[in-house]
Structures are given as C-alpha cells and as structure tokens.
Assembly symmetry: C2
C-alpha cells in the first residue's frame, strides 16, 4: 500500500480522517458533552470507511477474485452447502461435506497443537444449553440484540440497518433523485453504524421507508435478542438459551480449574465448540451464520503481572498493526515488531502481545496470505466498557476486512459478574510480601431468635447475610444503630425485617498471609468458519491459460486429503499396487483417495486439484517392472518425480507434516517429464 | 458365567423365561390377537429381567466396585462435573474438565482412525438446529416422547415409569403391606416397561399415587416430546428443534454425498457431533443426559448386495452374541465367531457383521473389558418397525448392562421417508444386466392453457404434476376419462380443478439401461459419553493395601496426558532438565504435565496416577551427572527403569502409540529399584 500513485489518490481522504480524529481528541480533552463526542466519532468512522473502501478499490488482487466461480466449486465438490436444501433450506446454516469437514478438523487439530498443547492449556468441553441466569450475569440477555422492523401485515422481519441501506441506495439511484438527495443518502449510509434506535426510526419516517417485499408499513424499530431460547426440562419453567459464545462455560468453571491447576496463576483454558446466534437476516455465506464453531482461550493472570514467560520467543515477530491512533490520523497500518509494540505500550501488555503473535503464526501456518492480515485495535469508543485493550485479527477477503480472531484484555469483568450473581467468590489468592493485620466486620446471626421468627426461611436469611459486602455490613450497622431495624431483600424478591434481637455486627482483627484478587482475563477468540472461508479465498487459483481448471493451494498440513492414488488406466495389473499403496497410506495415518474411475489421467488430476489434494501417486506401466516405481505429482507446480514404490509413502508423510518440501524432493528424485493431458 | 453353583441358582429362572418364550412363539405362529401377543411379550421381558438381575447379583466383580469412590475422584480431579454448579446446576448436563475433555478427544481421534480413515468414509459436519419438517419426516415429532405426570398444583413433572416404581416400592416396604400386596407391587414393577399409557394410568388410579414431594394430585399421563424446541429467525414462525440424533443430517445430504462418491455404492458417511434430548428426569450420571456427543455412521448399500469386501479380515473375531433366540429361551449369551454367525444367518448380513466386529475391536482397543461386552440382538417386538436386524453393543457397568453402541440394518426407511416428504428422489442407480423396454406414463401439461387459467399458480401445478407417482397418474387418467375433471391438491393445501383442456396423459415406451433403487442403510451409532463412563468404571483401581490410593488404568492410547515430569525436589539444578524434557515432549506431540510442586515424589506420583498418566519421568541427582539419565515409571506396575535423557522421549512416544510395551522396555533398560514413598 505504499504505491505513490495510490497514495496520491488517498491523501485527501486521509486528511479528512485526521482532521476529524483531531476534533474527537480535542472534544474529549475538553470534556465535551457525551452526545457531541458521539456525533464526532460517528463522523470519524464514516470518514474512515470512505478511506478504507477507496483503499480496497485500488487494491487489484481483491478485485480480480471471482467469488461466484469459487462458490460454484465449493458447492459442486461439497466443501459446504446450505443445510436442509431438500426441504427448502434455512439461511445462515451450512452443512460441511467431506472436504469442508476434513479441512475444518485439520485446522482445529493444528489449533490444538499451536495453543492447547504448546501452551499446556487446560482444554474443557462445556454445555451448549445455558440457563438464563448465567447469560443475565454475562450481559447477553439484556444487550445481545440487533434492531429490526416488521412488516405490519405479513410479519416479515428486516434487519434495520440492512433495510435502510437498501432503501436509500434504491432512492438515490432513482431517475428523479436530485444530487442533493443522493449526497444525503450516501451520507446516512456511511454513518449508519453509528446511529441509535431513535435516529434510525427518524430515518425510516423521513424517507417513508416501507417493506421492500410488499410495500406495507413497518413497525417501529424493535430490539431482537439474538440468542435462541428454549426450555430445559419438562415443566416449561426453566428458561435456557443456546450459548452465544463458549467463554461463559469457562468462567463458571473457574474455581474447579484453578483448583485443578493447584491454585496457581497464570493458566489458560481452551475450548472448541459450537455457538449460536439467531441472526435476523444472515448473509455473506460463512461470514455471518446462525450456528458456528469457535475456539476460545481464556488466559487468567494476576492483574498487576501481565508479563509472559515465553514473550522472548516471539518478540521479533513482525506484525501489521492498525492502531487506534493511526485509524484516527487517517494513516495506514504499520509493520511493527511485537516486542517494540509492547515496549512502547502500543499493545497493553506482554500477554496480549504474546497471543497476538501466536495468532499470526497460526494463521500464516494454515495458509492465510501475510499481506491480507492485519491487527486492528479497537478505538476507545468501540471497546466494550470493561476491556482494557482489544485487537482484532482482520483478514482481507472479497467481503472486505473481516474480523476473524478477537484478542481482548477483558480485565476482571466476567469473573466479577458471575461472583456478583452467585455469591461464589471467583478469585485467586496470592501470598502477601509480609503478613498484615486487617479489621474484619461480620454479621453474627442469633440463630435461635432467627429460627423462632422465620422458621424455614432462617437458613436463606443466614446465607444471604453471609454474602453481604463490607459496604452493606456498614449500612446494616448504621441502620441497627438508627431505628434498630434492617430490611433484608433475598434473591427471590422476598423481604424480611431484622433487628438487634436477631442479628448483631461484630468487629475483630485478624492476621492474614494471603490476599484475594479477581484475576484478569486475556481472551483470544477464533471464529473457525470465518478463518476457513478466508483461507479458501486466499488459496483459490485457476491454471494459467485454462480458466475452467480451478484448484485450491491449501498447505498439506490442512488439506482435507493428503494424497491421491491414480492407476493410469483400469488395467487389472495395476490393482495390487493400488491396494498396497492404499494400505500403506492408511497405516501411516495419511488420508487419501483412490480414483480408479475412467477418464484421462489429466482429467482425474484436475478433479483431485479441485479438492486441494496436494500430492498424487500414479501407478503406470513402469510400476509393474522391477525396481517398482511410481510417479509423485505436486498440485501447485504440476511437476512430477519418479520414486520407488517402497519409499513413496514416507516421502508423502514427510511432505504432509512439513518435514520436507517439494523443492527438496525434486532435488532428491528424478523429474518425470510428461505433458499432463488437458482436462478436456 | 459357567460357574456350576451359580448356574444351579439360575436354572429355574432360565426355565421360566424359556416357558414364556415358547408361549410367545406359539401365539405368533397361531396368528393370535396383537394384544395377547403383547401381553405375553411383556411377561417374557419381565421374566428376562428377573433372570438378568439375579445373574448380575451373582457376579462378584460388579458388586465390589465402589461407585461413590470413583465419582468422588472424577469430581475432585475434574474429569467432569455438573454444568453451571455455581448457579445451582442443571440435571442431565455435564462439563468436561481438562482430563475428561482430553479423554473424550482421544477416544474420538481413535474412532476417526478406526472408522473414518480405515474405511475411507466421508465425514460430514451438519447443523444442529433442525427445522420441523425434517423431524416430522423422520418420525421424531410424532413419536419421540416419554410419558409424564404433573403435580396439579405446583406443576412439578415426574417421569411416569420412575414415579410408579418409586411409589410401589415404598408401598410394598410399608409396615402394613400384606404379602399379597408386596407380590402385586413387585409384579407391576417388573412389567412396567411393557405397559401402555392406559395401563399406567390405571396403576396410578388403583394405588392412588400422589406427588411424592407435595402429596398433591397428579394429572393424567401426558406424552412429552423429548426434543428441545426453538424458533429459527426473528419471525417466530419457523419452528426448529435441536437434533435428537446426528443421522438425519446425513440422510438429507444423501444426493450430494452420492454425487461426491461419483454415483457409486456402497459408501459410508460418518459424523461426530452433539445431540440433545430433553429428558424428563435425567439420572445415572453420564448414562442419561440432556446433551451428548454421538459418533454415527450411515453405510449405504444395494439392498440385494449386503456383502462386505473386508469381511474376510474380521471373520475370525470371537464375539459374545446374545441372540433374540437365546433371550427367549432363557439361555446365556454365546461366544461365536462372527463369520459363523453370518454364515448361519444369525446376523443378517456381512455388512452388519463387519461393523459389529469393528465396533468390538474399537471398544477393546480403548480399554473396555472383553468379559463385560456383549452384543444383544433386538427381539422382533422391540425392533423399530423398519429395521431388519439390530444388535446393541452392551457394556456391563454398575448400572447393569448399558447400551453403548447400536448397530442396525435400517433398510430403506430413512431415505424413503425424506423422499416422500420432499419429492426429491433419494435414490441410486445401477446398470441393468441388459437394457429393457419400459412403458412410461406421464402427465403433459398444456402450459398455455394452465397459464391462462391459473396465472402465478401454474408453475406450482406443473411441479406438483411432475412429482405424481405412476399410481396417481393412472387415477388422473381414469378421472379425466370419467367426468373429465381431476382435482389436484398442492402441498400448501390449496386445490385446483384440472381438465382435458389443461392436462393430458401420454404413454410411451423407452429403453432403459439403469434402474433406480433406494439404498439400504446399516447404522452403527456410538454414544460417546456412555462409552467413556463405562471405560472409566472398567479402569478404576485402588492400590493393594491402600484403598485411598485410587487410579485409572486407561491405556496410553486414550489416556488424557501421556507423561508426567517430576523433578525430585525444587532444587534449581533440575530446572534446565525439566524444561528440556518438556520442550522435547511438546515437539513429539506428547501431552504432558510438569509437577514441580512441593510434596514427596510418592505423593506426586499418586496425584498423576489419579488422572491416569501412564508414564512418569523423574529428574533426580543422577540426571545431573554424565551420562545424563532419568527414571521412567509405569503407572500400572509402579516399576521404574533408568533411561538416557536423550532417549526417554522416544521411548514414551513408542509406548504411547503402542509401538512397544512396558514389558519390552523393562527388558531393554535396567530396573530402577527404589521404594516408592507412601502417599501419606
């Protein structure tokens, strides 16, 4: 992106971003009214978007990609396709066929190796069905929603931002549209993400937007919670949801996990599993779906020691960082060594930096193009209120830059929320440098008096009293000293009047050797479907001079099938060799496919290229002669070498596990020169 | 079970079963009324149950197992535990901690190797959320239900059979219970499984059974569908369920999969994934849960060629088969070679027999005790109406014989159902021995006339006409020839009157070279949680003379962690060796755990034994000297050998992948004699 011609075109746009970025900074520095800051930020984002779109439009590699052609291949060879298609299908749900499923499990296996095994993480596998109180505490019940409107007659639903964008685009393209109207529409579309419910409702009203399908009136904007609801058990009384992320399963098990780790911090927990979001109108293929696989890590550490013992291993890793600051200044992302980024405090701490580097190493290992990967920092206004620092690994696809991995320092938020909701203290302990004496206040229940007055409820009252915070205890003491009464409200909503007869407050001092604290959490969170989609785009190719012959250059580490076996023809003399090779490959745990169907060898190679098989063994007439040999073909270069029958499985194994490279193989074995027959 | 003393006690019970089995056979032969057969079968099952319970009670190994002790260990070391416990927990849901999760993924990895890779299956990964019409076609919406009753006041639900059993047990144990009443209660409890809704309602009424919690009245029995319902999308109009099994995802993709396999049969499809059942009152730990992982295979084949090319490989496999016939005769299960069982038609066909043998090989490989595994054939009356033959792999646990893998020949049922529901023909083709001429009847729509009369509906009508069966076409022809009218009803319920002007019936003959058929399906279906639970029971042990020191003898192939590294003390000289070993193990992809905590070496060994780590490397003072060596310890025998530092990782790798055995290792390396310190 340092092409001077392109930069010249971008310069004025960059300037406009910077100008607005400075305004935002200024407003914040002045402590301006929240609404003014919000408006300025919305304008800033709008300008950033214009810049980014222009930048992408000027990047030729993205433009030349033919998505329809790739999707046709993915469908035809059943990498994945719409679920329940014979029943009409459901949008936002996909079934992974043999190739998609194998690719996905190879990516996950490598993920386990890169993270769970390498970092000795504790891997867990938690329930998908989640009772409501858990997701109330996490904030999902209240906040995990999108805005929609409904057709008042048919009930058809539309995601509000999509609908407005579509309507305004149509409006501005109409013959009668004035240049003023066109500019107005464009302006709203750009700012759409920053508008709130009321502002969006105003847009609906101003342009009199109707249902695009029926022309009917639409309802006011409605907040639609994106979780799938169900009932657990037969009573219909226990409300549950399909989890919208896997993380909560880890947080609610924190105590058990800390204990498993013998009470020591830091430690990291990993989980791979499915999550669900009831999108209002899913689109963009695998990018936005209702059911998806995530791989999440929660790294628990002491909030004041976020250094990482293995940071030294990765500190020289060069990364493309798109900092919040650069975003506000209209600048491009910059190449920075992660060590320098942490040293300069651009990245908040070593642990966060360590994971960012490891995420990059993993993504490059599976085949993501380095020039299409960047880490974008959340700007302070888009960061969840509890996060300290957050960087998204974004991958450039034909849909633009897509967030594929989030990497956030979530501080103590999640454990704090679940502690508050349950009264179970999700904390760790650390030894104090020296023992100290602390004042302790506690409420002492008069069990006899409580039992007499409250009968069965006495236990609930005692339990609730034990959970009161120091602040609340002070309040109790004040009230008892005042009118002698304290009203306790239980979790079930019931209230009880307590008095000096039933409770008292006791003060004492004790010596403590350890202190409790709520650990901080650093969370790398991988969207496996999105990564997979980006990888497919990055590896999609067509043969020079033959646009119909498409293939995927997936690295053998993740390729669904490692090797094909093709007998030159259906001559039965080839069969024993084909079978022998197949058994040997199975024994070496190498997935493979025998294609003994009719069709020229070139045509069959083309078929194996389509499903990304990196290596192909051909059994031909020379195989029948001693010393028995076969040819081994490389998908990417289409070059072949001649290898001994007994050796070839070992060579494929070494290639598939990256113990050798095709270049080395071609140096070691004689090239087999034969024009590959055309696929036609 | 051939102990003569035990057999003597069982003989009268065996006789009672046989007597009843013969009665059932007789009734069937006579074509007796269905109700009479059903009653006789219920009595047969009841007698079988008495026999089986007696048999189990006389088997000492099961009795001596201390389930509470094992469950305590599983909980304490977080193999698995109740989900959302800090929120009070939900019954029937479990979270797998680090050890449970690793054990589960090792079992699944081996499963993939044994089935998906070895048999070159097509592995798929389909959606969990399933729209209602799919599960209507499969029969789940109508039939996948259990009976329950509700407390009329509190709404509390009880699974009907559990409730009755509990109530009658209480009744017969009461002081005032007469011997007659006790006998009556016992009789009902035994026959409970065979009673229908009305009969159960009668039992409720007769014994005036109330809610065991409140004493309140109960409702009539209600059928409760066990699927979790939800809504897909925001309209609230698309009803969906969480899938109750993974199989349907495979069936609805049959066309794509057949095409992927280039139209050829047989082929097998595998899927690993979660399924959900909203049990009324889950219990028995991992045996009956609401959320569980299944591994299912659908093997599609020509219904008239169910032989299997690899049957020869496994035909000598000895299996414990508990045939329907033996069950009716009160006999034990018998040891049979699977080749002989198929030859004698005891097992319906080679494909079914092949999978049964492979299931057994897999279960034994992960560590299931051979003497606790049997294959029980469904008796004709308990088989789903569409199945030809069905054998369950049952594993003996402290809960009795538990069905862990089903292996059924489901004939053409599933593909037929989805074809009927969608009109999409889920069929395969095969070449006819010789071409043949067939008469074809088809309905020819007069498009112009249809368009004129029915406007937009014309296309739906034409589509519906194209789907009519030969039978229906004959009916159309008759009706047109009669009153000249034919009333067509569309899928949406609308009817249209057609006549000679809009349609006609054409007859022609054509030469066909292939014939279509609906493939048969053989379905091995694995309940992973149940297998895992049984495996834990089978591998649970306590050290001789120290009942507090428990461990699991899990084979290293599936053990959660393959190796521990224990420095003898916290002497810092050991650290570089510990780190070097840890890196080398990671490089060799061996999961391992460094335990450098304080505590005697014996105590730390005991801790690694608890989580089933099969091998332990100890770094001691001899390690510091040249030549550097370490000790390697075997969990099961507690023996140690002294091995070179550079060699030890290779030895552990060979042990973990079953390339060598501990016996061989002890022959190769010097024994290291040291009294293992006690755990106390």
């Amino acid at each position: 992106m340092s092409n001077p011609e392109i930069e010249a075109q971008l310069a004025p746009l960059r300037e406009r971003v910077q100008e607005q970025g400075n305004l935002v900074r200024e407003l914040k520095a002045q402590g301006a009214a929240e609404l003014d800051v919000k408006k300025a930020v919305a304008e800033l984002k709008a300008r950033k978007k214009v810049l980014e779109e222009k930048e992408l439009a000027l990047t030729p590699s993205v433009v030349s990609f033919d998505r329809a052609k790739m999707e046709d291949l993915l469908k035809r060879r059943f990498f994945y396709d719409q679920s329940f298609a014979i029943y009409g299908g459901i949008t936002g749900q996909y079934d992974f066929g043999p190739m998609g499923c194998a690719l996905k499990s190879n990516i996950l296996a490598l993920w386990r190796q890169y993270f769970a095994l390498e970092e000795q993480m504790l891997e867990v596998d938690c329930s998908i069905l989640t009772p409501e109180p858990v997701l109330k505490a996490s904030g999902h019940v209240e906040r995990f929603a999108d805005l929609m409107v409904k057709d008042v007659k048919t009930g058809e639903c539309f995601r509000l931002d999509h609908l407005i964008k579509q309507a305004l685009e149509k409006l501005s393209k109409a013959k009668e549209a004035t240049p003023a109207l066109q500019a107005e529409c464009e302006d709203i579309i750009i700012k759409l993400d920053g508008l709130n419910k009321q502002e969006l409702a105003d847009v609906l009203a101003k342009y009199n937007i109707k249902s695009p399908l029926t022309g009917n009136d639409l309802t006011e904007p409605i907040e639609f919670n994106l979780m799938f609801a169900t009932q657990i058990g037969p009573t219909g009384l226990v409300k549950g949801f399909l989890r919208p992320e896997t993380a909560q399963g880890i947080f609610v098990n924190f105590k058990r996990l800390l204990e498993f780790n013998q009470g020591k911090l830091p430690f990291a927990v990993a989980q791979i599993g499915n999550s669900f979001r009831n999108e209002i109108s899913p689109r963009s293929g695998l990018i936005r779906v209702r059911e998806f696989t995530m791989a999440e890590i929660e790294h628990f550490c002491d909030p004041v020691h976020k250094d990482h013992p293995k940071f030294g291993n990765i500190k020289a890793e060069k990364m493309t960082l798109y900092s919040a600051c650069n975003q506000m200044d209209g600048k491009s992302a910059a190449q920075v060594e992660i060590g320098a980024a942490v040293a300069s405090k651009l990245v908040a701490n070593e642990t966060l930096g360590y994971y960012m580097a490891r995420i990059q190493q993993f993504l490059l290992a599976i085949g993501i193009k380095p020039e299409c990967l960047r880490f974008r920092q959340h700007m302070s206004n888009e960061m969840a209120h509890y996060a300290c620092d957050c960087w998204d690994a974004e991958i450039l696809t034909s849909y633009g830059w897509v967030e594929c991995v989030g990497c956030a320092d979530r501080s103590a938020y999640d454990l704090g929320q679940h502690t508050a909701a349950t009264g179970v203290r999700l904390v760790a302990e650390k030894r104090l440098p020296a023992p100290k004496t602390v004042e302790v206040s506690e409420i002492v229940p008069n069990k006899q008096a409580l039992g007499k007055t409250f009968k069965k409820e006495a236990k609930n009252i005692t339990d609730a009293l034990a959970k009161l915070s120091l602040e609340e205890i002070t309040k109790v003491e004040q009230q008892l000293a005042g009118d002698g009464q304290y009203k306790l409200t239980l979790a079930d909503g019931q209230s009880h009047e307590l008095d000096k007869n039933t409770i008292s407050v006791k003060h004492s001092s004790k010596t403590v050797h350890v202190e409790e604290f709520i650990p901080s959490v650093v969370e790398p969170s991988f969207g496996i479907g999105r990564i997979m989609y980006a990888l497919l785009e990055h590896s999609f190719q067509c043969r020079d001079g033959d646009e119909q012959r498409c293939y995927f250059t997936l690295p053998s580490l993740v390729a669904p099938i490692k090797c094909s076996i093709l007998p030159l023809s259906n001559n039965t003399d080839f069969q024993p060799y084909t079978q022998k090779l197949s058994s040997a490959l199975t024994k070496a745990e190498l997935s493979h496919k025998v294609d003994d169907s009719s069709g020229s060898i070139g045509r069959r190679y083309a078929r194996t290229d389509e499903i990304a098989i990196p290596y192909g063994i051909t059994v031909d007439f020379d195989t029948l002669k001693e010393p028995h040999t076969v040819t081994l073909r490389d998908r990417n270069t289409m070059k072949q070498v001649r290898v001994g029958l007994e050796e070839v499985v070992g060579v494929v194994k070494d290639l598939s596990t990256a113990r050798t490279t095709w270049e080395k193989v071609t140096e070691q074995y004689p090239l087999f020169e034969q024009q590959e027959a055309s696929s036609k």
